[in-house]
């Protein structure tokens, strides 16, 4: 087996460890930090079920962003929804036999790849063309979009231009999951694609990608507006 296979196997184990431990650590910190006061942004739901509904609209429809800026919402929502479809399509590399619902959704993953490209380009464009967003953008904000665009582009190019041996790729990942290594094809595009995914996984817990777990812990969104009815002593306050 080639050195490349060992290198990538090691990198994926490392990245998975960092991702899982890092995000878990953050979630534990968020959960353990007290929320001593009731601070939901009102009008807010007055029942727990209502909060579930608010969280659903926030995380699935991006309700607040929709209120804020239709352009950012269109680009952002398309990107995230397409990402979900693309991730589902990629599940076929990790399951054997492939789950039925994954098989059904997989064909849409190709369109979703293009949709991601569209959404990310729009989001990046805002960092140049809207002076307010330009002002607040740090190098890491641009790099994050470049990273995602590069992952999407290499993925699409493997689909349309330079194919790789996806059967071998699947064997590699199934092998990784069973601690039984098989050779990884050494096509440059594939190696770039996978290398960038490793980078994305590794930086997740130390970057703004923490918005993903963070939104669920946001007291302005996850608190029930019932301070007068039930009181709030700040011990637990989800």
């Amino acid at each position: 087996m080639s050195i490349v296979t060992y290198l990538y196997a090691g990198a994926f184990y490392f990245a998975t460890l960092i991702l899982v431990l890092g995000v878990t650590r953050k979630i534990v910190i968020y959960a353990r930090t007290p929320a001593p006061y009731k601070i939901p942004t009102t009008p807010a739901p007055t029942t727990k079920l209502g909060v579930v509904g608010r969280m659903f609209r926030e995380t699935v429809l991006f309700e607040s962003l929709f209120k804020a800026s239709k352009w950012t919402w269109i680009f952002g929502w398309i990107f995230h929804f397409a990402l979900l479809i693309v991730v589902i399509r990629h599940l076929r590399y990790f399951t054997e036999p492939v789950w039925v619902w994954v098989t059904i959704l997989s064909p849409y993953g190709v369109y979703a790849g293009w949709a991601m490209l569209f959404g990310l380009s729009g989001l990046w464009g805002r960092r140049f063309f809207v002076d307010r967003v330009r002002y607040i953008s740090a190098p890491s904000d641009h790099l994050m979009l470049i990273l995602l665009l590069a992952i999407v582009s290499t993925g699409l190019m493997m689909k349309y231009v330079w194919h790789t041996d996806i059967v071998a790729v699947k064997a590699f990942f199934l092998g990784l999951m069973r601690f039984d290594l098989t050779p990884l094809p050494s096509d440059p595009l594939l190696l770039i694609h996978l290398g960038l995914v490793v980078v994305l996984m590794t930086i997740f817990p130390v970057s703004k990608l923490l918005h993903a777990p963070g939104v669920f812990f946001s007291p302005t969104r996850n608190q029930v507006d019932n301070s007068r009815e039930f009181g709030h002593q700040g011990i637990q306050s989800s």
Binding site: T41, T42, A68, R228
Partner: protein, 497 residues
């Protein structure tokens, strides 16, 4: 009105300004003097080891408030909030964009508390905590009125108010407090209210008001003080005892209680509903100020606590009191504890206990300014959004002519008056005038279109702020009135024949 700065132009179509760096870098309120600081337990002046103590305080706050910890990590710089702050819209200063205001702290957080900022500061925009940074904090954390408008639009619910409060707490804890807020909190500790109005003066004022009502209506409406037979303790902002147009609101409350036959009282111990401890993000002060109200309620043996027209006071009462001074198991469980004066009046109207002669307000075309803390930090009634419905219902019950302003400028999207959050001080006049622009813009539209003559509000800060800034925009200072002035003027007094 003459000013030493350029008054923003009210245009027909509201526009988002282009970014102009540093236009408000000079704006900073007076720093608290040593006795203002020591009264609140803060160091009297900038401490020598301010750098370490500021970071230590930040660490403490990150462990104390989930909001701060989550908000520091979650922002993706999407820009959704960038055009939502009235201070940005009025000043064009990019550091008044909510995300940039947060970033003043987030850059330091990243530098000292995150892996990326420790090892790759240039990449993530992390910076060292320097004196310049501290100065920037002082300037721009006093250009936020903690109105939470940005939190409505943030996809992660990031509330800049939480970060501003933390910023001010850190500043005060290294010796750089704000004079206006800290001096006022000191007055509450010492005398019992923001105005520093001692009990005899308060009693005199209330007697004068009783005489005034007697002259106007020929009816003996009482404004009792420390009455042990009362059922209701009314706590209201002390501006209601003194300032125009606030005092007409107080007269309105008195008329409502009189007409409904509810025995009520004010308290000389708890003669202030406002709680500036919220503004400076200091728990101890906030609790100490609030505790006077619990003490007064217990001592007077009242069954209900009702809060007068005051925005942040209602937020503190509604959302924070239970944590700070609860539980309220000694009060009558048939009423919400605490209750807003608008809720109390609304319930009486619903029960048919009050009659109105709306024609008394026929000289007015009224609009309503939703106050930020009521709209986005509290509720009235038992349905979400009751805080928008109930005050409007009171206005409609007492006026024939009511019209709402543009939809995105009211209810949950309401613009702050520009003077909230501890900024209602003359050393910040420029900021206050510029920050009022979005509200004035929306008001201007309904004046043009519907000949609106008055804007009603339920917040002492809003009332004082508009009285001061409307003349800068060539509008009358007496346009702003209390909701309970409208109620009181239209209320049919006396017993039915």
């Amino acid at each position: 009105m003459k000013a030493e700065f350029t008054i923003p132009v009210v245009t027909n179509i509201p526009t988002i300004p282009s970014v102009v760096d540093g236009t408000m870098a000079h704006s900073r309120p007076f720093v608290a003097k040593s006795d203002h600081q020591s009264a609140l337990g803060f160091p009297e002046e900038l401490v020598e080891d301010w750098h370490d103590r500021a970071l230590e305080k930040m660490k403490e706050l990150l462990g104390k408030y989930r909001s701060l910890q989550v908000f520091m990590d979650s922002c993706v710089k999407c820009g959704a909030c960038t055009d939502k702050c009235h201070y940005f819209l009025g000043t064009s200063d990019p550091k008044n964009m909510p995300v940039a205001r947060q970033d003043l702290m987030r850059k330091v957080y990243r530098r000292y508390f995150t892996f990326a900022g420790k090892y790759f500061p240039w990449l993530v925009g992390a910076i060292d905590l320097t004196r310049e940074v501290l100065e920037d904090w002082y300037s721009y954390y006093h250009q936020c009125s903690e109105c939470r408008r940005c939190s409505v639009y943030c996809p992660y619910g990031i509330d800049t108010a939480e970060i501003t409060m933390a910023g001010r707490e850190i500043l005060a804890s290294v010796g750089i407090g704000q004079k206006y807020s800290n001096e006022i909190i000191g007055k509450v500790f010492k005398i019992g209210n923001n105005l520093g109005l001692p009990e005899p003066a308060m009693a005199d004022t209330l007697l004068d008001l009783e005489e005034e009502i007697k002259e106007d209506t020929d009816i003996d409406v009482r404004l009792p003080l420390d009455d042990a037979d009362a059922e209701v303790l009314l706590v209201t902002p002390s501006a209601d005892f003194f300032a125009e147009p606030h005092v007409d609101g107080l007269i309105g409350y008195a008329k409502v209680f009189h007409q409904a036959g509810i025995p009520w009282t004010l308290s000389s111990h708890a003669s202030e509903a406002a709680n500036f401890g919220l503004f400076i993000g200091n728990d101890e002060s906030m609790q100490k100020v609030a505790m006077r109200i619990r003490e007064a309620a217990l001592e007077l043996g009242v069954k209900r606590i009702i809060v007068g027209e005051c925005g942040h006071a209602w937020r503190v009462a509604y959302s924070y009191w239970n944590t700070l001074i609860g539980p309220f198991d000694f009060l009558d469980p048939n009423y919400p504890a605490p209750q807003h004066i608008c809720e109390a009046t609304y319930d009486l109207i619903e029960a048919g206990a009050l009659k109105f002669d709306k024609e008394q307000n026929d000289d007015k075309v009224v609009t309503f300014h939703d106050s930020c803390n009521v709209s986005r930090g509290s509720r009235m009634g038992n349905v979400p959004g009751g805080q928008f419905i109930i005050p409007r219902a009171l206005i409609k019950a007492s006026c024939n002519h009511f019209i709402d302003m543009r939809e995105d400028s009211i209810r949950e999207g309401t613009y702050c008056c520009g003077g909230g959050g501890g900024l209602l001080t003359d050393d910040l006049t420029e900021l206050r005038v510029k920050g009022a622009l979005p509200r004035v813009q929306a008001l201007h539209e309904v004046i043009e279109q519907y000949q609106v003559t008055h804007m009603a509000a339920i917040c002492a800060i809003c009332k004082s702020q508009f009285t001061k800034v409307l003349p800068f925009y060539s509008l009358g200072m007496d346009m702003i009135i209390s909701v309970h002035q409208l109620v009181g003027d239209a209320l049919v007094m006396g017993r039915e024949q």
